[in-house]
Symmetry: C2
Subunit: 283 residues, 2 copies
């Protein structure tokens, strides 16, 4: 057991390992044996390590290294994507973050291929990008609501795989996390938004309508996992009924991925001793 | 005395109040009577208030309010602009932040008016934007190094005032902070970058050359304060030899500005009771 994880998060939460999404338990904490308290402590500790790794990535980016990291967040409404941005992204230096939320496509975006707006939002070298929703919307709500014909959306899985493998080849580490809440938990979270005037702004009447398509979404998610979970751009399924666990898990996956880049501080591209002399000689 | 500030930061640090920049003490803590420990505690406390105000601003932006906040950071090399982004920006939800650093203009940017790249980077409604350097570079290094003729840069103060007053009229609250370190403190910080391999990436040999132009920079900054410190877009001069104070001061100015917007949670644009019933009736 390391840090409360009896199985490394990258193994325990991998889409291929967790079984069918329809029978997945959103209240579970796969691979993690700790409780909420130990989870919160571990989040702080791993968060500090993550921030240190982020600085290394950023420093290398400044020195000409092309590598970047992209965290893709998907999940049903209320699953806590915004909370991940706030509580995991919030552990990091905002300077090295590149956050993009994808809503309903704009008229301009609709005039382009579905990957056009994604391409424009990719993290620059040295950054950690977070996508709050992503190109997967184009095979999730778009599929569930028949916004394009089946003949079109069914081609997109291959296009996505090809797109992502090009990104990986160009130096982007991709981690895809799907936050999963139960239908009951979603109901409770929507009810809270309707009970608290400081939460009204998060409520959208359409979210209730979407609940009627729950099973169609599960099917669409299952296809996403079956068709686009690759070792080079893996999908992780994050049980999200317990917010503390979802945050801990995403932080752990991100930390593991960055540690895997095996970065070192960039070498000086100037003569250190000569510069020390010049500095000493200056007023 | 409120919170350790005997004079509100917005008064004590206002460019017009601090006197000539050439005789300013970068080691002072104007208006603040506390020490490093109490300053750090206050930063946490005010940071929480700031995060709460940020959420209000963001919520209103989502509900169609056009307001935004723009924090402009300027200062000599090593003054700690990046540290402000990290330690003050880091107190906030990255989702509601919009951070932009301005380096040497790209060839494309040089083909446009100096405000073109600034316009493109303005914070969207509901966001807090942070500019790490800004349009003021075009009357600071550009002036000191004669990168454009005097006849051109001297027109820019008016253009900047006009630009900023339009932003303000359109709902952007502007706060401009100049971080000031002493020449000796800069020398010590540059020496540290040369002493530590994990800091090499922050070092630029040009920073030593810039030190020879120290007085010309002070003159150029003084003109910036004299010509562009407006009540609607004020300049604050932040003593930055003590990093803890610079962070506390910028956080305080930002918190005060957001509190001044007097925001409330947006009203529901749906029938709350009807939605509660619809939700209860859904599976």
């Amino acid at each position: 057991m390391r840090n409360g994880w009896s199985i490394p998060a990258a193994g325990a939460l991998r889409a291929g390992a967790v079984g069918p999404i329809a029978s997945f338990d959103p209240g579970s904490t796969p691979g993690f044996d700790g409780d909420k308290i130990s989870g919160a402590e571990l989040l702080v500790k791993r968060g500090e390590e993550l921030a240190g790794l982020q600085e290394l990535l950023y420093a290398n980016g400044r020195a000409g290294d092309h590598r970047s990291v992209l965290l893709v967040l998907q999940g049903m409404d209320t699953a806590g994507k915004g909370g991940i941005v706030r509580h995991v992204g919030g552990l990091l230096d905002p300077q090295g973050l590149s956050i993009k939320g994808f809503g309903k496509p704009t008229p301009e975006e609709l005039q382009h291929d579905f990957l056009w707006r994604i391409n424009k939002a990719l993290p620059p070298a040295g950054r950690i990008g977070i996508f709050d929703r992503s190109h997967y919307e184009d095979v999730l709500p778009v599929r569930v609501h028949n916004l394009v014909p089946k003949s079109e959306w069914e081609k997109r899985y291959d296009l996505i795989n090809q797109f992502e493998s090009e990104l990986v080849a160009n130096g982007t580490t991709i981690i895809k996390c799907c936050l999963v809440v139960s239908k009951d938990e979603q109901k409770a979270r929507l009810a809270e938004r309707l009970d608290r005037p400081d939460k009204y702004w998060k409520f959208n009447p359409g979210d209730i309508d979407e609940r009627a398509h729950w099973d169609a979404y599960l099917e669409a998610y299952q296809d996403v996992f079956d068709l686009t979970d690759k070792d080079s751009a893996p999908w992780f399924v994050i049980p999200a009924n317990r917010k503390w666990f979802a945050r801990l898990a995403v932080c752990e996956l991100l930390t593991t991925a960055l540690a895997g880049l095996d970065l070192d501080w960039p070498k000086a591209d100037f003569d250190v001793e000569a510069e020390k002399k010049r500095l000493a000689a200056s007023d």
